[in-house]
Symmetry: C2
DNA sequence: TGATTAAGTTGCAATGTGCAACCTAGTAGG
DNA sequence: CCTACTAGGTTGCACATTGCAACTTAATCA
């Protein structure tokens, strides 16, 4: 039992993917974030647009706040209301969200989703998320290789 | 009940994030994929390196195969063995995996993870996953805007 | 032929999820 | 100022998912 927990924690320390999933990998968490990115802020908004059960929503919002991904700010003009807003840490999940969305669009739904993210200046859609080299050139899969960190160039 | 299911399906059709999560959002699925990207192929390899319960692993591998993310190929030289290998659809999840990993590295574990993905030619690490415009220029958050698809430029 | 290995399956206990009803503080209307 | 309503929860209970350990089955090895 203690062993099992220990093992789990050990993994979390080693693998940032496991660590990330620990905080945003639960069912509904990502969809809540998608909602937040699209402007949802209030409990009832999330509840009605996602159709999620109230107790689960309450639990997930609490965890996202605990983990510093959402901020929880009571509205000073109506003290019943609470605004949940993405923190910098939360906003930084945008590449994950976009990658996942583009993958889903390409391989599953085939229907382009809405709304769409554009460059404010040019009004043109952003590029697909892709692996690039340090100079920003797109890399194909056969140009990539896994390397042990110790063998990295200086 | 039928209503609820219908509503769910409706959402899946509309939102590619929900659709994507339906196939890769279950507990362990992403960690299995991480393993696959790092070269794991066999049941016992996944089981021992991830420490996942055998029945769950069996279930997840099955679902990933069903969804066309992993292929299941019996080894012709040892008919006990089965190789699970990423399909093109699976390999295309690399941006999602890398984004998530980089986010975890930046905001949670703070420890750089291993191994590292490099450009095979230059041996240099790939760039952080970022939102870019159509020409590959990185965009900051305040340069971005959500737009209804109907208002897109031609 | 007997031991070992790869890839599962099964039974059961613990945990997580979903629904509906309820609760509480604050606001709005008369 | 008293009643109704609203925002954001909590609670109780049924059902589904997860996790562990033991077992199975087919193939290979000694």
């Amino acid at each position: 039992m203690a062993l099992d927990l220990e093992r789990h924690r050990e993994m979390l320390r080693q693998c940032s993917i496991a660590a990330a999933l620990e905080t945003v990998g639960e069912r509904w968490s990502f969809l809540i974030l998608r909602g937040a990115f699209n402007g949802l802020q209030h409990f009832e908004e999330f509840q009605s647009t996602l159709g999620i059960a109230r107790n689960i929503l309450s639990n997930r919002l609490g965890r996202l706040v605990e983990n510093g991904i959402l901020g929880r700010e009571p509205d000073p003009t109506d003290r019943r209301r609470v605004a949940y807003r993405l923190t910098d840490k939360g906003l930084d999940l945008l590449p994950v969200l976009l990658s996942l969305r583009q993958w889903g669009e390409k391989w599953i739904s085939a229907l382009p989703s809405n709304p769409v993210l554009v460059d404010r200046a040019t009004r043109r859609q952003i590029a697909p998320m892709a692996v690039r080299d340090a100079d920003g050139r797109m890399l194909t899969r056969d140009e990539l290789e896994w390397l042990d960190r110790s063998e990295l160039e200086a």
